[in-house]
């Protein structure tokens, strides 16, 4: 296990950081919204090939990009396009952004559906690849900091491209992606609050001077660092067990991170003017996806004790069988 990035990985991360730095602010008019989708940045990332990182480099490099993109206050869809889709689609090309949808809940609101051009529908054993038409999606207002929307007419899946036997692979990489996104969002939120408590004074001292505040922020810092490395390990190894561990750890610790960070932001933290919610309410959205913390914990336990050995599903494996039904 090597914790140091290669020169190529460092260059990739440095390059996307430079682009993201130019998009690290949101327009004044959008400051009170529950989220802001940066259309220009999404196009920029697609046009410059960053969303192909999972194909051209590998899942670890794609996870690094997901983490970086999750650190900015604006929403861009990188996780499903750059990390998940290449692992489950093989050579099949689709249009991004991508929404991942649970098949038996098609009529519910879905994260990223209003911006998506393609939906990967988890049908259990299989995946359906469904083009998304903008005029068939209505936006749904939510405090969660992603665009949410539902289908006006539930799409017909019978004519869709169907990937046989790829459902478990989709859920596996969905967990890696959500853990990586949690890592980036949590780190950004913690950085914001650490800065805030250093500047905000109460009882004649900066809030950061109180040990009770320091200790809880260090615990949040430890959790965010853990999710960061667990998600990268899961992307590197390609093992379902590592993905379950990363998602379980991330989703379980969302509560602690969100509650503590809002606590230390004080009353500002419950307003939309203060940007904390742009990260914490992404964490809340990710907390329940792909089974949520209970299901991922059960999968960790099943993998650990019930299976003879963890499944050896490697990152390089792209034995995708496709057919149109």
């Amino acid at each position: 296990m090597n914790f140091q990035l290669t020169e190529e990985q460092s260059a990739l991360v440095g390059a996307i950081q430079t682009i993201l730095q130019d998009h690290s602010d949101i327009p004044q008019s959008a400051r009170v919204n529950s989220f802001w989708f940066d259309v220009k940045l999404q196009s920029l990332l697609a046009d410059n090939g960053y969303l192909n990182a999972g194909r051209e480099f590998g899942p670890l490099e794609a996870a690094l990009l997901v983490i970086e993109a999750a650190r900015i206050p604006a929403v861009v869809e990188v996780a499903a396009s750059a990390l998940v889709a290449p692992r489950v689609l093989g050579d099949v090309q689709i249009e991004s952004p991508v929404a991942i949808i649970v098949g038996h809940q098609l009529s519910r609101p879905h994260r990223n559906l209003p911006i998506a051009r393609t939906a990967l529908v988890d049908l259990g054993d299989d995946i359906a690849v469904v083009p998304v038409k903008a005029d068939n999606v209505e936006s749904v207002a939510s405090i969660l900091a992603y665009p949410y929307g539902r289908f006006i007419r539930v799409p017909e899946l019978r004519g869709a491209l169907r990937l046989r036997g790829q459902g478990s692979k989709l859920r596996h990489w969905w967990r890696v992606a959500l853990a990586a996104e949690c890592a980036g969002a949590a780190r950004a939120a913690i950085a914001l609050i650490v800065d805030h408590v250093k500047q905000r004074h109460v009882f004649g001292h900066p809030v950061a001077k109180f040990q009770s505040v320091q200790h809880r922020l260090v615990q949040c810092h430890m959790m965010a660092n853990s999710v960061h490395y667990l998600s990268l390990r899961a992307a590197w190894s390609g093992l379902a067990y590592d993905a379950d561990v990363a998602a379980c750890y991330a989703q379980h610790h969302v509560k602690k991170i969100v509650v503590d960070l809002h606590q230390f932001a004080g009353a500002m933290g419950v307003t939309n003017e203060f940007p904390l919610h742009l990260w914490t309410y992404r964490l809340r959205a990710l907390q329940t996806e792909s089974g949520g913390p209970i299901e991922s914990a059960l999968d960790v336990a099943r993998n650990r004790w019930n299976a003879e050995e963890p499944p050896r599903q490697t990152a390089a494996s792209t034995d995708t069988r496709t057919e149109v039904i």
Partner: protein, 105 residues
């Protein structure tokens, strides 16, 4: 419930293991330590405390002669948050070195 708690504890130990490997990796590459060693102690303590609690709740017989390995594990880890620098010291160090917090009041 028991299985999901066990799965969560495993994930906490995996996190602590990874943060510990990171410290070893830093030593190998002669990278100056900001406070990563202290941070992995904090992560390990959370996992250890959860496991001790799990043992008492779900396999209490292990503390009354049912399993000497688990009983030893429990006994050895009673002072886990104290030995080698208390957990509070670890938290203070990380707050100062990693998060740039001022000395506490």
């Amino acid at each position: 419930v028991m299985q999901s708690r066990a799965g969560l504890i495993v994930s906490k130990f995996e996190a602590a293991r990874l943060l510990t490997y990171r410290v070893v990796d830093q030593r190998v590459h002669r990278i100056p330590d900001a406070s990563e060693a202290n941070l992995c102690r904090v992560a390990a303590l959370e996992a250890v405390e959860d496991l001790m609690d799990f043992l008492v709740q779900y396999v209490p017989d292990c503390l009354t002669g049912g399993n000497t390995v688990l009983e030893d594990y429990y006994r050895i880890n009673i002072p886990a948050g104290i030995t080698g620098g208390t957990n509070e010291l670890q938290l203070d160090i990380v707050a100062r070195r990693a998060l740039g917090m001022p000395s506490s009041t």
